[in-house]
Symmetry: C3
Subunit: 270 residues, 3 copies
């Protein structure tokens, strides 16, 4: 079955502003403990994004503790960006535990399809039913098996071009798929939410995508709905990104202003 | 023996300003080599805090090198925030070496009591007599065994409520205890130093507490007195934190301004 | 054979400005995929430096993937700053693969000579013919065997004092040596390029030297000449550092402004 992009145009809706405000207020009140097993490049930025938004980050990454901590945490993020032999075991145990305890969790399958080891790790992680899968066009194309089993993955594929793959992946896996790109799309295989905005400079600061995965995780226990959690987190990122760009003088001050904007979002009812 | 908070009120003193100025000048002159074995979230921020203050940070974290480097270093920090199976072995070897060479060292028992593995690692580390133990109220309560062996640890416990535990822990272990919170308390089991100031926003930037542990370590070889080292480092943090808040526009610019303020402290005699 | 510093004075040339502009334009057009196996303190800053300059950073650090990724990458950086038992194996496999595939690579031998384990790792890495070796005076002295086999390594040695060692190391190894210090020198054993400028504050922000190694790696596939790649990257760092200092208020804002300046370099033909 070949799916055409235009088939979806009528289903696309824009995420409403009032729900974002409400969700953010809830996040700040509940400060969900968000367990992040993520890559070594973005740990600090991810923790600061979660703190700026109002969540409580915690990185617990050793095999002896990971299951216990999934029991304590309200949500889990697994990002395979710099996965090692040891991390893989930790991630699988975390995902298995989350599956067992019904802890909502986000899978960020960084560079899946491009390297064998992580592809096999991601395939195993998929068995534990991630609540949300967040990735760029290439990753979603690879993971969905679109375009011939991950071959021909195009790092420059647009998010719109990967939308059919996102829909199919969501339908098949039962996960909500958050597809990042110039425009973000979020889908459960039926509804499609589109998040315009943001700014291209976000691709010039490491970890913005990875940190979005963490923030989606933080919103999962707050909203109780994966589509809504991913949409609200994405709107926050797009809004903070746009505002931060206006007051930045390059990529360094953009990253700083982005955290400022996240921490100030909603404080004046905006 | 039940200890009441009011019993200590008469012993509490505020750390004097002239000693901070003197210690900071010494730190900048000596630039103590400060060996940090810390968690993956805060390595960069910790190194930048030490450099801003005037110390020389070094992270040496492999079992083959750790003992040799403790011999070279002037001070050691061990922070168990993201301890793994391998890190635990490295930390124990570092602590054993520091004990043997009389290298002053700081233990930061992140989340002790909350997870079994790190709790057992921290218990073993305690055998090597840390010079200073730095933690928040929950960690000091858990480590002291107050409130029933770590059970009922309250992450929101105030530092004042944990002061009796800090005193007992200091007395029993021989370490100076630096208890972080809205107000910082530092005690050797007899004297209690209180450090007012700082700003709540510091809890919204990851690594401020962890970096304080590192700065206390850096001051140990400079001052030669644990109570003084912990007090001076804490005053620097509170002062830089207050000043940084006044020029920040959110959590991102606060972290930047905090490093700026640390690097400028004392440069004009302030 | 004793070499005198003055012997080289006539060979020293200053890297010309037009070539930097041209190389930078090329870097931004090609966005070379730069594989970084670096220390845990500087991963984030290194990635942000590469992104600001216009390259594509990627940290792939597990034994299962490292060879495959060297095949995909345009350049490689190996920095032994926090090398562990496991990292050493990964680094050796990466270097062996780069040697085989003719992928240009930079070796940053952090603290070589000071600790046995990393010294032996660096010696093994040297067998795979790094394209560029980047280090400070102490590291270059230790690696060249000058001054008696690494003994008496002086962390405060000036870059000029280490220039004879750099020349000998370049001649013996076939690598271009990029010697960082108050003044940077770059040599292939015959020509010597000198890079004035920069600012002392760069030594107060962790990772500036490490990130320079990464940027040199990124320029290798773009320029096709190691001497030119190292020179252009060093000029960019010196220029961005000088400009950033003028708009900074301490070490925190300097790091931010440094990334801003890197991201803005060349955008107006400067």
């Amino acid at each position: 079955m070949k799916m055409e992009i235009e088939d979806y145009s009528k289903k696309i809706i824009i995420w409403p502003h009032p729900e974002v405000v409400e969700d953010l207020a809830q996040l700040r009140q509940k400060a969900p403990l968000t367990h992040c097993i993520t890559n070594v490049v973005v740990t600090n930025f991810t923790a600061n994004v979660l703190l700026a938004a109002g969540a409580s980050p915690a990185m617990v990454v050793t095999i002896e503790e990971v299951a216990d901590f999934v029991h304590i945490a309200h949500a889990l993020l697994i990002n395979v960006g710099t996965v090692t032999t040891f991390d893989a075991e930790v991630m699988l145990k975390a995902a298995a535990t989350a599956h067992q305890t019904n802890t909502p969790w986000v899978l960020d399958p960084v560079a899946v399809g491009a390297l064998e080891f992580r592809t096999s790790v991601v395939e195993k992680l998929m068995r534990y039913n991630p609540t949300v899968i967040r990735g760029n066009a290439s990753e979603i194309l690879a993971l969905s098996g679109f375009g011939g089993g991950g071959k021909g993955v195009d790092a420059t594929a647009s998010s719109l071009a990967a939308l059919p793959a996102a829909l199919q992946l969501a339908e098949r896996s039962g996960a909500v798929v958050a597809l990042s790109g110039e425009v973000d799309y979020i889908t459960d295989g039926k509804e499609i939410i589109t998040i315009p905005g943001g700014h291209e400079i976000m691709t010039k600061v490491t970890g913005t995508g990875c940190a979005l995965g963490a923030l989606i995780a933080a919103f999962l226990p707050v909203t109780g709905r994966a589509l809504r959690a991913a949409s609200t987190a994405s709107v926050m990122f797009a809004t903070a990104g746009e505002r931060a760009f206006r007051e930045s003088r390059g990529t360094g001050s953009f990253a700083v202003a982005f955290l400022d904007q996240l921490s100030n979002l909603g404080s004046t009812g905006e």
